[in-house]
Symmetry: C2
Subunit: 236 residues, 2 copies
DNA sequence: CAGTATCCGATGCGATACTG
DNA sequence: CAGTATCGCATCGGATACTG
């Protein structure tokens, strides 16, 4: 009778909120903005979200004109892409990230973070141009993570970065040992890699050249990059 | 067990979304941004929201550091105000409004809008400096609204604007007749007052001087003002 | 005015299992 | 890989009544 989840208001903020202010929706858009396009890619960014609900949200966002489906290539679905309307949410969502980082207590102190989400985020921010043509393997070990989340590998080959949850078997160029919290704080710019290495909150070992390059190979969260230029984001 | 409504992620967008992406929350903040501060003022901006839920949300927003309570003045509560963190949401919420206006289909075509919310919004945007020291009364009649929402009065006196739902009894300076949709479209900048008057979608009658001044006395939604300068809002 | 208390019905959400 | 189907429950939402 009162229809779906609307607010019954003409105010454009209400209209935007009807689309954006439902659970998980902003995180799906963050995933898309960060470069995911396929169903399972998106889901890796929000692993705690029920797949059925992800499916539902993707439909809603299509109906709202924020996403559309790519034409299927051959047999499998072509994934999703942002429409022009969706692209214009990019600065808004990034602004929300900057705000969250600046103001939300415990934005970097949560107890139960998912190392998988962190690794999935990080694997998209490897600057492959600094690595040679050959294969590079980085191994991450999180001392505070549960058994099945302790070890991760980034396998970098011909400009492509794969995230592995089991040992890919190749020689490891760099071992990274840290707590999830430490790594996450660095990732979102709340801590510096240099400091963490100095104080041995992070231990790097392996190829000496790779150890030196690591701070440039692993770029930080897009939010951190954006917030460096965020003076432009406070126009009012 | 999975705690409250969190996402279990360190991403700052997720942290912001935990606070902002719950039902009604963005509309409460919009009300605060537009100048409401007391409980019942805020509620007039979201009349369909259960008061108990508004109370709960206000507590959540205080816990999140977005709002705080003003010290009670005398016997009654002092209402609420945005903290510094809350103030920094202003450009984000206005951006969402601009986005909603630009992209949401039917942002100006809803069937069941609330004339009360429209009037409540508009009463805050009367430029009292254009009116003399005496009393000014504007009467609005919405032909398409249900009986109890048809007639509204703005009573302007010594720079103060009161919204009345029953005839205040004073002489009316200007009568405004329109449909809620027409008025709402003008209010959010999707239609122009001049056009609507020309084509008699709106009929003004009463004091000739007041008829002439009306387009300047009634300022438009803050979203419209903001979107005129919105080139600054697309920094990425 | 500024909320709180309670009850009840609808549904959004999460968990699990299943399919082409 | 890319989703669907089903089910139970917690939360939301509406109504009503009550308090300082």
């Amino acid at each position: 009778m009162t229809e779906d989840g609307g607010y019954g208001q003409f105010c454009p903020v209400a209209k935007a909120a009807e689309i954006l202010a439902t659970r998980w929706t902003l995180l799906i858009l963050r995933e898309m903005i960060c470069g995911s396009s396929r169903f399972n890619e998106i889901h890796r960014g929000v692993p705690l979200m029920p797949r059925a609900l992800l499916s539902k949200r993707l439909k809603e966002l299509q109906a709202a004109g924020v996403l559309e489906q790519n034409p299927p290539d051959g047999t499998r679905s072509g994934g999703y892409r942002l429409t022009a309307a969706g692209e214009e949410l990019r600065p808004i969502i990034i602004s929300m990230g900057i705000w969250g980082q600046r103001w939300v207590e415990s934005a970097a102190d949560g107890p139960d973070w998912d190392a998988g989400v962190l690794m999935w985020d990080m694997h998209r921010r490897i600057d492959t141009s600094l690595l040679g043509d050959g294969r590079t393997v980085l191994q991450f070990e999180y001392g505070d993570a549960p058994e099945e989340m302790r070890l991760w590998w980034l396998l970098i080959e011909t400009g492509n970065v794969d995230l592995c949850v089991s040992d890919p078997g190749f020689a490891v160029d760099l071992y990274v040992l840290a707590d999830v919290q430490t790594m996450a704080r660095i990732w979102i710019g709340k801590d510096s890699l240099a400091r963490a290495v100095d104080e041995e909150d992070i231990v790097l070992h392996g190829d000496a050249d790779m150890r030196r390059k690591f701070s440039r190979v692993l770029q930080l969260s897009p939010i951190v990059e954006a917030s460096k230029q965020s003076s432009r984001l406070q126009p009012f």
